[in-house]
């Protein structure tokens, strides 16, 4: 789960990281009030959970509260990469002299956290990693000891930060690391961390990605989820504990297990089709969960055919069949369903499905080929 910039910076500020004064606004009039309170030049920033908002015109400077209001109105009417802007952050405008990158994330290959810094801040750090990898400095953190002062000092020296700022840099590094630990984040980054004209270090922008598996430990953070930014189908899926990702193709997929779900999508693509979604019903799915999953797929207007691939193990094939039947009875699908149902209790599952009109096959390859053929036929008609 991603946090917005204003949420991320608030989290950092709780851990002693200096951030600009400012507040979030969801209308032009609110933005004017914030700008008046600040009493100086402000920056109005779109709050959306995608990158590239600067290029899209979603970050603008305003000299007066009136101008801040006008810009807020304009930005709040925008869509950035298809996501409507619902909130803006109005911050005091800060003039940076230097822009630095500072981030902490999980290093999967080392099974440890890693703190990353670069003197090339304010740009996409992944681009820097690509073009100038030597400009990125990483330091591996012991999972039990946490970030040590000497490590932050090493980073400060390695990015050639002037010594006058080391003390602040170390304090901010520790604050950022604490924020990452306390929130069970998988990523916490300040980009840019700036040296201002007044000789202060300050976090101008922030990004936090939380570990979905750890949200049960942080109900306060879980409440920050911006459901307006989710695809409605993905929101419904989450409610039922289904793992769903909307894609652009025409073949709806319902599968048990993430690996098999991905492999099913891959085989569809290999046969010349395009999957409409990723949907993993998980292990030991109940009939209700299967019904909910199939409903989500059937309500996607792009779907021309549905492929159901279930290899029962912990999941029972008859239980899956009991979930498929009510979804069909309610939604009365106009698109064909291709079902491949094998494994635990497969005979009973097949028997239940025999009554419903669907195409049953015995292998994944057959199922994929048939789905692709049917989707193409659907296109012609």
């Amino acid at each position: 789960m991603k946090l917005h910039e204003y949420q991320s910076k608030a989290l950092f500020a709780e851990h002693g990281v200096p951030i600009p004064r400012g507040a979030v606004a969801s209308s032009a009039s609110e933005a004017i009030v914030v700008a008046q309170d600040l009493g100086i030049r402000v920056v109005v920033k779109a709050q959306v959970l995608v990158g590239g908002r600067g290029k899209a015109g979603g970050v603008r400077l305003a000299d007066t509260p009136k101008e801040a209001g006008e810009l807020a109105a304009r930005i709040l009417a925008m869509k950035i990469k298809n996501l409507p802007v619902r909130k803006v952050l109005v911050d005091e405008a800060v003039e940076p002299i230097t822009e630095i990158y500072l981030g902490v994330t999980n290093d999967r290959s080392a099974n440890r956290p890693v703190l990353i810094a670069s003197a090339e801040g304010g740009v996409d750090i992944e681009d820097v990693a690509h073009t100038d990898p030597e400009k990125i400095v990483r330091i591996s953190i012991h999972p039990l000891l946490g970030l040590q002062e000497f490590q932050a000092r090493y980073l400060a020296s390695a990015i050639e930060l002037p010594r006058d700022y080391w003390r602040d840099f170390i304090r901010i590094s520790r604050g950022l690391f604490e924020a990452y630990v306390d929130s069970d984040a998988t990523l916490a980054e300040i980009n840019p961390l700036v040296i201002t004209k007044n000789d202060r270090l300050m976090a101008l922008d922030g990004k936090v990605v939380l570990d979905d598996n750890a949200l049960f430990l942080h109900p306060d953070l879980a409440e920050m989820r911006d459901i307006d930014e989710e695809v409605p189908a993905e929101r419904d899926a989450r409610k039922y504990g289904l793992s769903y990702v909307k894609l652009q193709g025409t073949i709806g997929c319902m599968v048990n297990g993430a690996g098999l779900a991905m492999a099913s999508m891959d085989v569809i693509k290999l046969m010349g089709g395009e999957p409409a979604n990723f949907l993993d019903i998980g292990g030991g799915a109940s009939a209700e969960k299967v019904t909910a999953g199939l409903r989500i797929i059937l309500t996607d207007p792009n779907v021309k055919v549905v492929l159901i691939n279930v290899f029962g193990g912990i999941t029972l094939a008859d239980e899956v069949a009991r979930g498929i039947l009510p979804a069909i009875a309610d939604e009365k699908p106009k698109v064909p369903l291709v079902v491949r149902l094998v494994g635990t209790n497969e005979e009973e599952g097949q028997r239940l499905l025999a009554k419903a009109k669907m195409i049953t096959v015995s292998t994944l390859e057959e199922a994929a080929q048939l789905s692709v053929d049917l989707a193409k036929k659907g296109n012609v008609e």
């Binding site: 999967r108 039990l144 297990g257 690996g259 492999a263 292990g283 494994g343 994944l364």
Partner: protein
């Protein structure tokens, strides 16, 4: 021969009285696994599974009383990290954690603790181990595999069943099937298991099933190129997965230009691995060998 588990495996099931723990304990018993104990805090002294298995309050007590040398964990995600630590502290040499959804920062600490002891952790978020005809520890359906010379190591659950089933249809049997799990931090990785298969006399060919996310497959490719004499057949799931989206497993996500299926396939092919284009093709490649 097999790896990890055999006839001498004496299993303790942590979370034996829970819904999943109970169901799969019955399945494992039926398969022939020697379950010597169960652990559920607060239920010590009871006997379950038709009075065949004693329940203990702690892993330490279960090990002292029954000589258990392997643990399988079915407890819910909230308590699973604690369960792994408890088993490691009781010095159970092999710990298999089936539970999905353990917070990753917690898991980094647990993994560090486990690696400092003389114990092996498999998982979490994995289907466990199967040595066909001998023993199973976990949830892999026993009926879809027969004994043979193919070693399997996989990050996925049901995709592994798909491959086991396809192998069985082609008349090919398995030495041991190892599910290492779909989480970003796990106890045992591809390289650990590949080394064991290389040394296992029963295993003549190895199947590696990977997926998007991380760089475990790339390291496996390097190991295969440098150290393996036995042939390896592979499959990587997620060639169609879009970047930035988590595909079910916590570990299955393409981030910052790394973890791509295409990079993994290229690395494996460079190391001489024959990589299948679809899961069923793995069985064909092995049968044609």
């Amino acid at each position: 021969m097999s790896i990890f588990i055999d006839k001498s495996t004496r299993l303790v099931v942590q979370g034996i009285t829970g819904r999943e723990g109970f169901f799969h304990s019955a399945q494992m018993l039926e398969y022939g696994t020697n379950i010597v104990a169960g652990v559920t805090p607060g239920k010590g002294g009871e006997w379950v599974l038709e009075g065949k298995v004693p329940v203990f309050d702690t892993v330490k007590l279960a090990v002292e009383t029954t000589g258990a040398n392997c643990s399988v964990i079915f407890v819910p995600a909230k308590f699973a990290a604690d369960a792994i630590l408890e088993a490691a502290d009781a010095e159970v040499p092999l710990i298999v954690c089936i539970t999905e959804g353990i917070p990753v920062q917690r898991m980094m600490k647990v993994q560090h603790f486990v690696r400092q002891r003389d114990v092996t952790l498999i998982g979490p978020n994995c289907p466990g181990l199967l040595t066909p005809g001998i023993s199973k520890v976990g949830i892999i359906p026993g009926t879809i595999a027969k004994s043979g010379n193919v070693g399997i190591v996989s990050r996925s659950g049901t995709l592994t069943y798909e491959v086991l089933y396809a192998l069985k249809l082609k008349g090919k049997g398995v030495s041991t099937c190892v599910g290492i799990g779909g989480d970003p931090v796990n106890g045992t990785d591809f390289v650990d298991v590949l080394g064991m298969f290389e040394d296992d006399p029963q295993t003549e060919i190895v199947v590696l099933i990977g997926e998007i996310g991380g760089s475990d497959e790339e390291r496996a490719a390097e190991f295969i190129g440098d150290h393996m004499t036995k042939p390896v057949v592979g499959f990587i799931a997620g060639i169609t997965a879009p970047p930035g989206k988590r595909m079910g497993h916590a570990g299955a996500i393409v981030e910052g230009g790394t973890g791509l299926a295409s990079d993994k396939i290229t690395a494996l092919r460079k190391a001489g691995v024959r990589v299948a284009d679809w899961p069923g093709q793995i069985a064909e490649l092995i049968a044609s060998k």
